[in-house]
Symmetry: C2
Subunit: 318 residues, 2 copies
DNA sequence: CTCTTCAGGTCAGAAAGTGGCCGGAATCAA
DNA sequence: TTGATTCCGGCCACTTTCTGACCTGAAGAG
């Protein structure tokens, strides 16, 4: 208990609560003399955690930023908030960091006490989220299991519905989770087909580690994301909605900056707006929010959808 | 260097990378004998971190979940992902945990090395986010400064544009950040007016700690959120859009679960959908995505907006 | 100037950490 | 069943570190 290591950890924890601790208080909290406290502070500094000290009447110690991340000592609330934030990020709320988010989430969930895990689940399901935009939803629990299996080289069993809609059971060596176009894939070595496969995570269910571990193979081409991309690129055509908006580029860009899409000037006071998407709800939202006159360039299905929605709205407004 | 504390920390770090470490490898990595490694494992267990061990040919050590959060040892990528996720959560991507997210963000940012902080900023600004829905944007940097000042009882100076549009400079003792209706407020004791004030964070600029610290006062009523609510409740009326949708409750709920809002059955195959909002873009998105016939119950401004949007869409679709 | 607070040297006794050695027990594969 | 592997933990002697007490300095704040 009165261990040095434990005390250092506690000190680090106290310092992360910041508050400019006066040395005397730290010493009493840790139940050591002030001399020892100073030595502990020194130890932290030697470990690379920069502890700033200020002297004088309102002096004290304060943990500042250094060159490496110190071990984060989180209280329950913070841990929950982080898990929730990471889930949202993994769900695609923030683009570009989905994979790392899942990885970090896996790390946190693994050491998170069950009671906190329950709170995360409860909060997550009770809370409303931003629109799913497109792509089927994938449970964070499923992702976490897979991420852990990838990291730990643990063989995975799951049920899968293949492209033809046939349900099967797979036994694979999972290597990497890849997030692509708002969908999750797991790149794995199929131990029964003896070949690499990219499984869509939304189509698999009940992933469970078997307990067996495997020796990771070299991924063909070396780049998991690239490999998955090449496997699926021909299968799911991405549709692009293009419209010509009667508004200044600057004005359109202000909206597009938060919704995604590209704008280019198209002469006069019009500009061309491109939105990559798989369904049409999203472009409709953007155009409704813009409120400017526009014309559909492509695709014609979007024009149809637009007419249907317009008529629906007119009927609704009497 | 060859400190015990440092070694324990490193061991914890290694274990968080999981991978079922075999004892021998851990021992060589930590440059100690296996006997000492076993002792270190014991130490961790005494500290409350449950380390599972499995024997036999494929045995090893593994950190499992216990009753408290262990210190998280994150690599750079993970730290960045967490910071980004928390920012998004603080931005309101996830409802209900904004305050805790900011608090956790402040804690992380404080100890985060500058190079990572730069990466977070770059990633955050490069990345497109879900729609702002409503409410003006507030920089995470501003929030972080305020959160830290609240936690550390540091007096804050900032420029503020008051309700009348007059710019002033304030010197306050910040007590709590409150997120309400997608807006941020800081509840503070105004040292010049000698009174409590709730400042809208989006209206203040360049917050900076003065270096002075203050003794926290008791918040009137004890509940900061309630206090802020009572202060601003009369000023910004929240509008509620109510529509009757011709669809099954279950169907509507499926959409509403991710977009927010409440549904109740209204006889036959219709149900009543309520959406609290400050602008109308959001309900329009929901109704367009639903695609079912509906009638507007209130407010009439929404009916007007709906008609305008419907006509716009019809013009656009030719 | 004075008070407060951090900084760090020295010292001696106490406490802990360490590696080597060993017998045990669980697990798995042959 | 047998043997290999791997974790477990007691014992011991030696080394290292840790600790508190005491003291002198130095840096801010009022």
């Amino acid at each position: 208990m009165a261990n040095t290591s434990a005390r250092i950890l506690r000190l680090l924890s106290l310092l992360q609560t910041h508050r400019y601790w006066p040395g005397a208080e730290l010493a009493t909290r840790l139940e050591v003399s002030e001399r020892t406290l100073r030595r502990d502070i020194d130890r932290l500094r030697e470990l690379g955690y920069p502890v700033a000290a200020s002297r004088g009447v309102a002096g004290g110690y304060q943990l500042r930023s250094g060159t490496a991340m110190p071990p984060l000592l989180l209280d329950d609330e913070e841990a929950v908030a982080i898990a929730i934030g990471l889930r949202a990020a993994a769900d695609g709320a923030v683009e570009g960091i989905e994979e790392t988010s899942v990885q970090a989430l896996a790390k946190i969930v693994q050491v998170m006490p069950p009671r906190l895990r329950r709170r995360v689940d409860a909060l997550h399901s009770a809370t409303s989220r931003p629109p799913a935009r497109n792509g089927p939803k994938v449970g964070a629990a499923v992702l976490t299991v897979i991420a852990q299996a990838c990291r730990d080289n643990e063989r995975l069993r799951f049920s899968y519905i293949d492209r033809a809609g046939v349900p099967t059971t797979r036994l694979v060596d999972p290597h990497r989770l890849v997030s692509l176009r708002r969908r999750w894939y797991v790149l794995a070595w199929d131990t029964e087909q003896h070949d690499w496969r990219a499984f869509r995570v939304d189509r698999l269910d009940e992933p469970a580690v078997t307990g067996a571990r495997f020796r990771p193979r070299e991924i063909p081409g070396g780049d998991a994301a690239e490999f998955v991309r090449s496997r699926i690129t021909a299968q799911t055509p991405q549709r692009e909605v293009v419209v010509e908006v009667r508004a200044d580029v600057a004005e359109v860009e202000k909206i597009v900056a938060v919704t995604g899409g590209t704008v280019e000037a198209a002469g006069g006071r019009t500009c061309r707006l491109r939105i990559g998407t798989e369904d049409f709800d999203w472009p409709i939202f953007i155009l409704a929010a813009l409120g400017a006159e526009f014309e559909v360039v492509q695709p014609s299905e979007f024009r149809d959808r637009l007419r249907a929605t317009g008529e629906l709205f007119l009927r609704a407004s009497g």
